[in-house]
């Protein structure tokens, strides 16, 4: 009777399981245990952090956590990419922008109790930029992206005195300060880095408003309030970052009340949230641009009038309604409006097929022409359904007589062929890093970035006047002067029309109504120091 006994035993276990669970009734175990009046903000996203050492991660999942634990030398304002003091309180440049001297905040301590000072800043930068540094463990990708390799343009970092640090650059870099504000350049405790070595990514120690508590892989990361924080102190006691991969399952947890806020919504669910009295919808200001680049080296697309005609032919609002669930703004400039330097005076090209036809006729092609339209094979926030978007643009262009064939390749090949100028019309996009206009205009439209094989400027747009404005802006350290230079550049770019700027998408965020003080930032992550939860 072994089998029978076994079966009986198994059945009993099963019955017990059901019984115990049944006893739970409708109450929520989380609430039972959290009864000691701790204020916990539970935030969910689709993936776990890949690491908690901010310099060695590039994904939002990780940076969201590190942003709470670490401070940067400069910070972005809550609602723009304007710069404001962080761990550094004052800064000045010398020698045409080749030297920067930063005054540091005094009396700040890392979470492990060690002091924050110029030596600590020097240690961090030396670790990042010097491949021979004993703690240079990891790939330091963002350092290479923003400062151009190891050691890149930062030639030397010197601790002048306890609270003064001096950077010597090999060449001026206008967005230098904006780079320093990026979450990835959070300042770590040198002692903790030395102590944990290769495992530092699991044991982060910074100076931020929250301290690291624990990280359970694929489940949760927990941080707690830093009561000794130098700035405005956090309003919640703890933040739990949960990983819930499925968008629908995550929304269901929000509706059930087991989480307080989430990112990563299906566009279709936006209505659900608007209709739920317990939930609120927040919008992240855009830091991206989706565009249709026109290869200005190709036959028809050489002609400015034809490029302007294509601009008039594309119905951007229809794209936004059909493919972005309305969660985007039509673009007229190559950079998003949340950045300083954005020129709102530029009129752009309104949707007007008749005008497009007239321009084509003026250019000598009253019956249009044939060309190819390249569609990205992968979805990006600025281009959620590239093939469908390409089809819609194809139809728009057909209305003015331009016949297009849609072409696509796998992602690597698509990029390589684009960098090689093999395309005609090319769907693409860009998400900004540091909130500096240079990060859009210079990277995407300067003539120096048209080298075949590695071009970032896939319109292969070469305008000497634009280029000299962009290069002047790089050398200038006065932000108001730079602002003017970028605004002028946008006017010229608009006239030349190397792109059809399509959209700036605004990712939606959902939270309980009881959550306040959550200010989504254009850079993609924000500090939760001001977040509060009404009970």
């Amino acid at each position: 009777m072994k089998v029978k006994r076994l079966a009986a035993a198994l059945f009993l276990v099963l019955a017990m399981m059901v019984n115990i669970v049944g006893c739970g009734g409708g109450d929520n175990a989380a609430k039972d245990a959290g009864g000691d009046k701790e204020k916990i903000f539970v935030f969910a996203r689709s993936g776990d952090a890949s690491g908690l050492d901010p310099i060695n991660v590039t994904d939002g999942e990780s940076l969201y956590v590190t942003q709470q634990i670490f401070d940067t030398l400069l910070e972005y304002a809550d609602d723009s990419t304007d710069l404001q003091p962080g761990l550094a309180t004052e800064w000045e440049s010398a020698k045409d922008g080749k030297e920067w001297t930063l005054k540091l905040r005094e009396g700040v301590k890392f979470h492990d109790g060690t002091p924050f000072n110029a030596e600590a800043v020097k240690f961090n930068f030396d670790r990042w930029r010097d491949e021979k540094h004993p703690n240079h463990q990891g790939d330091f990708s963002y350092y290479t992206y923003m400062f151009g390799g190891f050691p890149g343009i930062i030639q030397d970092v010197a601790a002048v005195d306890e609270y003064t640090v001096k950077f010597v650059l090999t060449q001026p870099q206008a967005p230098f300060l904006a780079n320093l504000a990026m979450a990835t350049f959070g300042i770590s405790s040198p002692e903790a880095v030395k102590q944990h070595g290769e495992d530092y990514f699991k044991n982060p120690v910074g100076t931020g408003p929250f301290k690291f508590v624990k990280w359970e892989k694929d489940q949760q990361v927990v941080v707690e309030k830093n009561a000794a924080y130098w700035g405005e102190k956090a309003k919640v006691d703890k933040i739990v970052f949960r990983t819930i991969p499925d968008n629908s399952a995550r929304l269901m947890e929000l509706q059930s009340g087991t989480i307080d806020g989430m990112i990563g919504l299906n566009p279709d669910d936006v209505e659900t949230i608007k209709n739920d009295a317990n939930l609120q919808l927040l919008m992240r200001p855009s830091m991206n641009v989706g565009y249709l680049a026109m290869n200005t080296e190709k036959d028809f697309l050489k002609e400015q009038k034809i490029r302007q005609a294509i601009n008039h032919a594309v119905n951007k609002q229809a794209l936004i309604d059909a493919f972005y669930a309305g969660l985007a703004k039509p673009a007229k400039n190559p950079m998003p409006p949340s950045l300083w330097g954005y020129n709102d005076e530029v009129k752009g090209y309104e949707y007007d097929p008749a005008k497009a036809k007239a321009l084509l006729a003026e250019a000598g092609y009253p019956d249009g022409f044939e060309t190819t339209l390249w569609a990205m094979p992968v979805a990006r926030p600025y281009m959620p359904q590239p093939k469908e978007i390409a089809q819609a643009i194809q139809q728009d262009l057909a209305k003015v007589g331009i016949t297009t064939k849609i072409v696509t390749y796998d992602w690597q090949t698509y990029i390589e062929k684009g960098e090689n100028a093999e395309h005609d019309l090319y769907l693409f996009g860009w998400t900004g890093d540091n909130g500096d206009p240079d990060n859009f205009l210079y990277v995407l439209l300067d003539k120096s970035n048209t080298v075949k094989g590695s071009a970032g400027n896939v319109a292969f747009y070469k305008n000497d006047r634009v280029s000299s404005l962009l290069v002047d802006a790089q050398k200038e350290s006065d932000q108001s002067k730079r602002d003017k230079l970028y605004k002028d550049a946008q006017v010229l770019i608009n006239e030349d029309a190397p792109w059809v700027p399509l959209v700036h998408s605004t990712p939606p965020i959902a939270a309980k109504k009881s959550i306040s003080g959550w200010l989504p930032h254009a850079t993609g992550t924000e500090c939760f120091v001001g977040v509060d939860k009404a009970e």
Partner: protein, 334 residues
């Protein structure tokens, strides 16, 4: 027996070599440059070169394969390019979650599946038989992502009986000893954690159990039907044995061999991590690890992960084969 096991272990070598070649070649099957595929479109030439160097992509294929196997034979399964931690550690961290879920799911599948199969066979063509066999068909056909979401909607959102995702609620603490949360909470006598663990475990394990449950039920039914027609069953009944004794001791035991095979195969599959179930229910197991590694193009994790999962699978099959001799003494393992 020992000789049999040794022979089987030797027989595994070609299988493992085959799997290792496929896993190894994966990185070379993607179009373009693997280093760029891993690091993404914004990587600098410097970063690309150092990754190529790190992964040894500049060497000829056979040299790369030799190195790959050499490291594995020394127990070195490489490091994740995303987190930089050893692949084996990443696996070890997720394995208990997958094992706990698989065991719970198999428990449900075996108990429900065998009972349903036996009753269906004994009462062939009855209402119960028809209903449970149609149910089994539906169970095999239901997509888990749909079933999982519906269960979450009903039991977590509408009724609030169970928890929709993760292994523990926020705010419940449990000291990890074995990382099997049911065991840990029993060992430490932490009843709040036990209750919470079970509330989280029930839905994913039922969702995961549907397919094996259905397969086991159908296999039990057909195997039992065949055995129940045998002469020795008639003899047993003629001896005047109780019906239950005939069914469970004489019939089920003899019908058990094909059922055991199916159970082994299903369990092996579950151990590889159930990607869909683990994703819908945010279960931090091996399926999730593999899914995320693929999405992030973390090739060392994908390559070595495939190898580790295949090893687990073949060893479970080996164990099942050994179990045959216990279930059916006629089988001599020589």
């Amino acid at each position: 027996m020992t000789r049999y096991i040794i022979k089987r272990l030797i027989g595994l070598i070609p299988v493992i070599i085959g799997v290792s070649i496929i896993a190894f070649l994966l990185i070379h099957l993607i179009p373009g440059d693997p280093a760029r595929a891993i690091l993404g479109e914004r990587a600098t030439e410097q970063a690309l070169n150092s990754l190529r160097e790190q992964l040894g992509l500049n060497d000829p294929l056979h040299v790369q394969y030799g190195r790959f196997m050499g490291q594995i034979l020394q127990g070195d399964f490489g490091r994740s390019v995303i987190t930089n931690s050893p692949v084996i550690e990443e696996f070890a961290a997720r394995f208990p979650a997958t094992l706990e879920l698989s065991v719970a799911a198999m428990l449900i599948a075996v108990v429900v599946g065998i009972l349903a199969g036996v009753i269906s066979a004994v009462r062939q063509y009855s209402v119960f038989d028809n209903v449970s066999m149609v149910g089994a068909l539906i169970g095999v056909s239901l997509p888990i992502f749909w079933l999982g979401l519906m269960m979450q909607w009903l039991f977590a959102f509408k009724l609030g009986l169970l928890d929709a995702s993760a292994r523990l609620s926020v705010g419940i603490s449990l000291d990890p000893i074995t990382n099997f949360y049911v065991l840990d909470s029993l060992i430490t006598g932490n009843w709040a954690a036990l209750k919470d663990t079970l509330r989280h475990l029930v839905m994913p394990s039922f969702a995961l159990a549907t397919i094996p449950m259905a397969i086991i039920a159908r296999m039990t039914r057909s195997s039992m039907l065949e055995v129940l027609k045998q002469d020795y069953i008639r003899t047993a009944r003629a001896k005047g044995l109780k019906n239950n004794t005939v069914i469970f001791k004489h019939a089920l035991k003899n019908a058990f061999l094909p059922i055991l095979t199916v159970m082994g195969l299903q369990f092996g599959t579950l151990m590889g991590g159930a990607v869909l179930t683990e994703t819908i229910f945010s279960w931090p197991g091996i399926g999730r690890l593999m899914y995320e590694a693929i999405m992030q193009r973390d090739f060392p994790v994908v390559q070595n992960g495939i190898l580790i999962i295949s090893l687990i699978f073949v060893f479970i099959n080996l164990i099942v084969d050994i179990l045959y001799s216990f279930v059916d003494p006629r089988i001599r393992l020589e």
